[in-house]
Assembly symmetry: none
Amino acid sequence: MADFNLMTSLHIPGKTRIVQLVMDGLGGLPRELDGKTELEAAPTPNLDALAARSQLGLAVPVRPGITPGSGPAHLALFGYDPLTYDIGRGVLEALGIGFDLQPEDLAARGNFCTVDEQGLITDRRAGRIPTEVNQKLVALLREIRLPSVQTFVETVKEYRFVLVLRPTAGQTLQANIYDTDPQQLGVPPLPARAADEASAPTAALLNEWLTAARDLLKAHPPANSLNLRGIARDPGLPRFTTVYGLKAAAIATYPMYRGVARLVGMEVLPVAGETVEDQVETLRAHWDEYDYFFFHVKKTDSAGEDGDFEQKAAVIAHVDQVVVPAILALNPDVLIVTGDHSTPSLLRSHSWHPVPTLLWSRYCLPDGIAEFGERACSRGSLGLFPASDELPLAMGHALRLTKYGA
Amino acid sequence: MADFNLMTSLHIPGKTRIVQLVMDGLGGLPRELDGKTELEAAPTPNLDALAARSQLGLAVPVRPGITPGSGPAHLALFGYDPLTYDIGRGVLEALGIGFDLQPEDLAARGNFCTVDEQGLITDRRAGRIPTEVNQKLVALLREIRLPSVQTFVETVKEYRFVLVLRPTAGQTLQANIYDTDPQQLGVPPLPARAADEASAPTAALLNEWLTAARDLLKAHPPANSLNLRGIARDPGLPRFTTVYGLKAAAIATYPMYRGVARLVGMEVLPVAGETVEDQVETLRAHWDEYDYFFFHVKKTDSAGEDGDFEQKAAVIAHVDQVVVPAILALNPDVLIVTGDHSTPSLLRSHSWHPVPTLLWSRYCLPDGIAEFGERACSRGSLGLFPASDELPLAMGHALRLTKYGA
């Protein structure tokens, strides 16, 4: 909170523009062939040229050794210490699909799953049913009524949905409730169990819904049961306008990231399609309307999770070719290129490795390292730094902070 | 504590093995001859080859500019912030000789000293009497009885012993009591003085013992008096199994280090002799039984304290030749090579300089610096980092931590 006090008390108006280009899961590990990482192997002439005029460093998303989920990793990029601020998965998912979550709502991520005749889980993702099947099942689940609360069930995609309970006036729902997903096969889905006494009535409501829902689904294999995870309420995070005095916009295509952005008070801009070209169009169209843009590229992470080194390098090369020149052509005042965490193809998952990061502004002191890569960044003047320092640094470079003290 | 919450809540089981090889007082300063430090001057082909495949950095044991004692320096290596966790010297010494210290016990380190006819100290270490003499004197001191508490007197070595007071049921001893050693010559040994009111009864008990002990010793020059230091109780540190979920073993020959290890819940393994070869034998014999090994080399520090540059470099070279290949042959998953603090021969004492550190795992991103030395480490990607980050980093690299948040 100390840093937020600084930001909140020092920010000043201005006409400068900040872009934070986030390639999800950017950091990687070397392949055997030539000892290069995905980022080092990708042809990135534009990023390399920009690096020569920039400061480089390695960003630590949470703490050394800690592998972050997407929520905490993005909070850090936005300057929120992820150990101080916590968002439940249910809330992220609800916001990510554009659900108009109210402060008093309780949200859970739902997963359809498959159980056998004994009621034991055989597939935690119900064979990854198509989204169209999901939509039909969600229509069934919407028929379930609970006493005293409104329920909303919304498709996310494939086997995933969102359940929202909205209390009636004066009533409070408590979200300290364990996941019902036992996270293993061969055991039954669990009931909702309250982790404290105050959450017991809400857990009872959820169990009433779960019983009805699991009963309804019996006739619909492979999605013949379900689980709830990440049961949570809006954590009420400080807003970007308050913290930084920035009018902020998010350009992201994937629900989760649109959700986090909305939670910190960004406006989530419409994107015409799923490609980075579509995202660039959105950026151009709204350039004059905002002080700050969060530009999120998802496919670097997806390729890393698939263990596809070549594909991850190709996505990076494409961003270098298409996105970087387009941003530079708009003449931003500050450009940060980074990732939310590392997703090495070698590990096929998020990892704890710090994230290559580049900061350019006309007031940066260039390191003179004409390469954007993990090892290049480890020699940069930003050093090994907390990812939550990126926004304060950007604020300084955008001349958006006044002097601290006389 | 936040970090321990992270470790405690994220650790997961696994079959991976971590080795932390600690050369005590590893860091040094350049000699005039060629401007090389002890570590830089020592021939270390195995460490240099390992460095080329590793990440390097400089570990700060406590805070910049602060010279640590052995206790705090080791707590930091084990991930315990030494400003949060404090162990009294008396407790370390008692545990170090294998004394079965109980949580309610009060322990003090004792030093025999020499006083002249006026009772003024002429030698704070009693001419470093042989351990055999110490044992005879300790037998005398054991005859002293105190009301209501049990007393234990144990030889450590040379002029050093341990005094333990064990309270009777329901009684509590308070350890906020100053050292009786005035730390200078030409003045008398001091009585025990309580630093707070609650400790006054315990100080009175200690003074009763001190009076009897000093009286008994009058006839035994050069050890004709004594002092008590580091009066303390077991601080009840969180245990390695709780914090990291690691079954941990210590391979150390010197009492102090065995003591700290025991205090954080490590099992202290028997070593057949005093050499690093003996320690390697212990490591081999117990390799399958533990998740983590603390391997402590004492003689680097002893040589530094003696101001013997050549000897310190020779100890490092010997570790490189004998210990490093032996550890690598066991195929660990994570190997950290570090020191607890610096002990430059130039200073003949512990110092505040950050400690050269190497981290290897198959998931590390090698810096490509084929040398293990202070200057090489200052260019490494671990940067200048708190020594207490080593264990969390090792946990990440050992795949022993699950993701933080969704």
